[in-house]
Amino acid sequence: MTKKLLSFLCIGLAILLLDIWFDSSNQDKNIVLYDDEILSLIEIWTAQVGRPPNEEDLKGIINQLVEEEILYREALKLGLDKDDIIIKRRLAQKIGFLKQEEQSVPPTELQLKQYFESMEAEYFMDTRFSFTHLYFSKEKKGAERALNSLKQLRNLDTIPDSDPFLVGKNFLNKTAKQIARDFGEGFSNNLIEAETGRWIGPFKSIYGSHLVKISKVVKARKPNYDEVKKAVLLDYLLEKKQTEMRSYIEELKNQYDVQINPKFNYP
């Protein structure tokens, strides 16, 4: 029994020594550079520098690659990869990147349309107003003048004297937010249900009173799928990647048994 165990240990030791000996002598002393590898380095270099590398540059690039590979192998031999939190993190990151870069099947038109329908609110387009206005400064009895001017406009159809407005008279395709930048908050509320093609008001802004003639209102609406196709595709792919990554991790988690000291005390 003891003999058997002893010979077993001896043979084991011999194999181990042989293994170490071969490992340190012949194996792993070959470095093979494949064309693809060099071509991709050239590509990166060209993109960064803005011109293809010349012969000298190329020597440098390849030399660096070789040296890196040698140092990497030596480091592995010394076991420097063990218990290194940075390497751990990097590998975890890498598998994440790999997963993200996996070419998933391109979505069909139908899938995209369904996604678009389900995310409707994201693509909603704000109401846009086109209008012209007459401005009556509040420093110059604006409210009163505006009221009189409206009468004049409606009865005589002549343009009354108003004050020039610093950013102009005509506004094209503006959203409520953009209107607020020039007239103050809430001014566009006056325009929402208003009549078009006719002088209306007076409406108060932060600067005074205004008579407004709306030429066009493009109501807030759900856009056609075709109008936002490009954005939908980008959003769809982004979300899909995130959900795939999540389910991949969850799947793996099920295969692992995690143990934590139940008495762990958070200091």
């Binding site: 440098g60 993190r89 610093l166 102009g168």
Partner: protein, 727 residues
């Protein structure tokens, strides 16, 4: 001659070993010959000159300034004049041309991980995270934005922090900005890295390192941990992001970066080490932002590693312009330049002349007059008769230690000096327009006093750390414990009454500012052309809208005419323009409207500067031109009476029903003399409001800090209009 052909053909031969070795050989030959006088005086002289000429020639060929066209990354550009909001009478656009992201060494080191993409989405109204984890969002989106990371060491610190980096010497940076480390507690570590480590790296440009670089081609040798590949890929990220976010007609971006140079002394001692041996990094600030007009940019930005001399930057820009690439540079923080931004002599100490004036104006038509690190309009010592001169003064050198000399550091004095030089027939190098900017290092410009996030991430992202409210007992103890190492001390202590406050320059920082342009449409071309015309103004962060025109034939009865602006463009010149040879006194049209979300306007002023003939003696005068609330300017004092606007310090509320939504007037200079050179610019003042430091205190339930201004008057400064009598 194979060698010479190769020299001519291989422009970028710094990257070839033989090119570098040739430089090295000449360098060595030069050193040897100049130190041993064995060839006799004449031969020595000849050799020295030859060597210098060759070396200069070689160096001039070696900048990595090849031009790359990045239009493929940008949007399809519309024909000029075809976006829907095109307006011949020009639209007003608000923006910021000075924004740092994670690629800047001093942003990343203080916890900023916002990318250029984050910065642009913030400018468009999006929400991004501060380094300390809270949300930041603008009250109103901006119309244009340019990410301007530091050209030198661009991308380096994030590169050193990368867990995959194995470069020796970068270990202290590894994993610097992982979530667990983005805390107030990490400040001493970050402070130490910034104060001692980065500086020593920057300054460690030993000659031996340069020689090693020339021999091997690895720039990393110059400083032990610099990496040219990381540098270029960061610059490419800045470019890509600007290209992708540029949206003609709606939102304009510019490809840009900051040229971050400084100098300890002026004249012949320029570039010498300062007495404490810390080198030129400690000196007066000479920073500029370089803005590219279009899609064509260089492989690397021209940085302080290429030259500390701003005139070399202009030469580089001139060269680019001759190759079809237009750029302009905008200096900033002249207030922290220790008197060096607006000197009367060149870098090498020669008196400036006409050629210098043209050289400078061609490349630097604008100056940033206000930003987070204070306002550079004027200083109480320079303008003792201007009651509003004491506005957000930041009196320290930027990036250096000690007071900054006011003389030569402020724009109004530069305008006067420029006229004086012109009077002497030496041209005017200081005929620049004005813009404001934020200089944020978080990706997010912070111009709202009531919601200030300051500038540099973790260091000043909370009220106690920027000195607006007292420190907690615990913070005081920590600060006292760390107070022993002067090199690493970023935050000192100041005892006021029973309370300890953080004692730093942060208390002098401002929730400022904004660049505003009048341009036909919101496109790169149109806005860049407005920069060149100087049809720009600066604000302290408020969105005041301001028109300013001057001309002999402006019809002063037309103030209420519908085509007021059309006529003004036709018969006069807008801000940034020139008037010459006038018989009669010109009329000035000033017109401002308030920020819809800010305080009402209090008054519009015109600031006039002029010089006497022959002696060139400078004068300045501040005229109130129009007052709010129907008040009239006192013609003896040129001042509006007090309109009675007050601020309630306990809750920051302001007087209602005082102040104007709009101020508008024609003005004639009562002291106009057609024989004197003069400039005129507008300053619009709002009613007083709480300063950010008061807002911080109010929101956190403290009294405002006693040694700080409690209120400010937000304002706008126009580019001047110059009057030149023809000689």
């Amino acid at each position: 001659m194979k060698f010479t052909t190769w020299l001519w053909e291989e422009r970028n031969f710094k990257n070839t070993t033989s090119g570098r070795r040739a430089i090295l050989f000449l360098f060595t030959a030069y050193s040897v010959i100049s130190s041993y006088n064995f060839l006799g005086d004449e031969m020595n002289y000849l050799f020295r000159n030859l060597a210098v000429i060759c070396a200069v020639f070689l160096w001039s060929c070696t900048s990595p300034d090849d031009i790359v066209d990045y239009s493929n990354l940008g949007p399809d550009l519309p024909e000029s004049g075809t976006t829907p909001s095109y307006n011949e009478e020009r639209n007003v656009y608000f923006g910021d041309l000075h924004v740092h992201t994670k690629h800047s060494f001093d942003a990343y080191i203080f916890g900023t991980i916002a990318t250029p993409d984050d910065a642009y989405s913030y400018a468009k109204g999006g929400v991004i995270k501060h380094a300390l984890g809270y949300d930041m969002q603008l009250k109103e989106p901006l119309d244009f934005y340019a990410v301007t990371d530091h050209g030198f060491l661009m991308g380096s610190v994030p590169g050193w922090a990368d867990p995959n980096n194995t470069r020796e010497g970068t270990e202290p940076f590894r994993n610097l900005n992982v979530l667990e480390n983005r805390t107030i507690e990490s400040i001493p570590q970050r402070g130490a890295l910034f104060q001692t480590y980065v500086r020593s790296i920057i300054q460690n440009r030993s000659n031996w390192g340069v020689i090693k670089y020339l021999w091997t081609g690895d720039q990393a040798h110059i400083s032990s941990i610099y990496d040219v590949d990381i540098h270029r890929s960061a610059w490419r990220d800045v470019i890509r992001s600007a290209q992708e976010h540029n949206d003609p007609g709606n939102f304009t971006t510019f490809i840009a970066y900051e040229y971050t140079t400084s100098s300890t002394f002026s004249g012949e001692n320029r570039g010498m080490l300062s007495p404490d041996g810390t080198g030129p990094f400690e000196g007066g600030n000479l920073h500029r932002n370089v803005i590219f007009k279009g899609d064509n940019v260089t492989v690397e930005p021209f940085s302080r590693l290429d030259s500390l001399n701003p005139e070399d930057l202009w030469t580089w820009m001139d060269d680019l312009r001759s190759r079809g690439v237009d750029t302009l540079a905008i200096p900033h923080n002249s207030n922290g330049s220790n008197g060096q931004m607006f000197e009367l002599e060149s870098w090498d100490g020669y008196p400036v002349g006409k050629e210098y004036a043209e050289f400078r104006m061609r490349n630097e038509p604008l100056v940033e007059v206000t930003q987070v690190k204070g306002t550079s309009d004027t200083h109480p010592l320079l303008s003792p008769n201007d009651e509003w001169a004491d506005f957000e003064i930041m009196d320290q050198r930027v990036g250096g230690v000690g007071w900054s000399r006011p003389f030569g550091s402020y724009t109004r004095q530069a305008y006067l000096d420029g006229l004086g030089l012109q009077e002497e027939g030496r041209g005017n190098p200081y005929k620049f327009g004005l813009v404001g900017a934020s200089d944020t290092h978080t990706g997010a410009m912070s111009d709202d006093e009531s919601n200030f996030t300051s500038k540099i991430g973790i260091l000043d992202g909370l009220p106690a750390n920027r000195g607006s409210i007292p420190l907690s007992d615990e913070q005081v103890q920590t600060a006292m414990a760390n107070d022993t190492a002067p090199g690493t001390r970023l935050i000192g202590l100041k005892k006021i009454g029973e309370d300890y406050y953080s004692d730093s320059v942060f208390t002098q920082w401002s929730a400022s500012g904004m660049a505003v342009v009048w341009a036909e449409e919101n496109t790169r071309d149109s806005i860049f052309n407005a920069f060149r015309r100087k049809e720009t103004y600066a604000t302290s962060g408020t969105r005041i809208k301001l028109r300013f025109f001057a001309g002999e034939n402006l019809d002063v009865s037309s103030l209420s005419d519908d085509d007021l602006i059309k006529q003004a463009y036709l018969k006069g010149v807008p801000m940034g323009g020139d008037l010459s040879v006038l018989e009669a006194s010109p009329s000035f049209l000033v017109w401002a409207t308030r920020d819809t979300k800010g305080a009402p306007l209090q008054r519009i002023q015109i600031i006039k500067g002029w010089v006497e003939t022959i002696s060139g003696k400078p004068h300045e005068e501040v005229y109130d031109v129009v007052c709010s609330d129907g008040l009239n300017v006192n013609p003896k004092t040129n001042r509006c009476p007090d309109n009675g606007a007050r601020v309630n310090i306990s809750d920051c509320s302001i007087s209602s029903n005082v102040g104007a939504s709009e101020l508008k007037a024609f003005w004639k200079d009562p002291d106009f003399d057609p024989t004197l050179k003069a400039f005129y610019y507008v300053r619009v003042l709002e009613n007083p409001t709480c300063r950010w430091s008061t807002w911080d205190a109010v929101k956190n339930g403290f009294e405002p800090r006693p040694d700080l201004h409690k209120t400010i008057q937000e304002r706008a400064w126009s580019s001047p209009i110059w009057y030149t009598p023809e000689a």
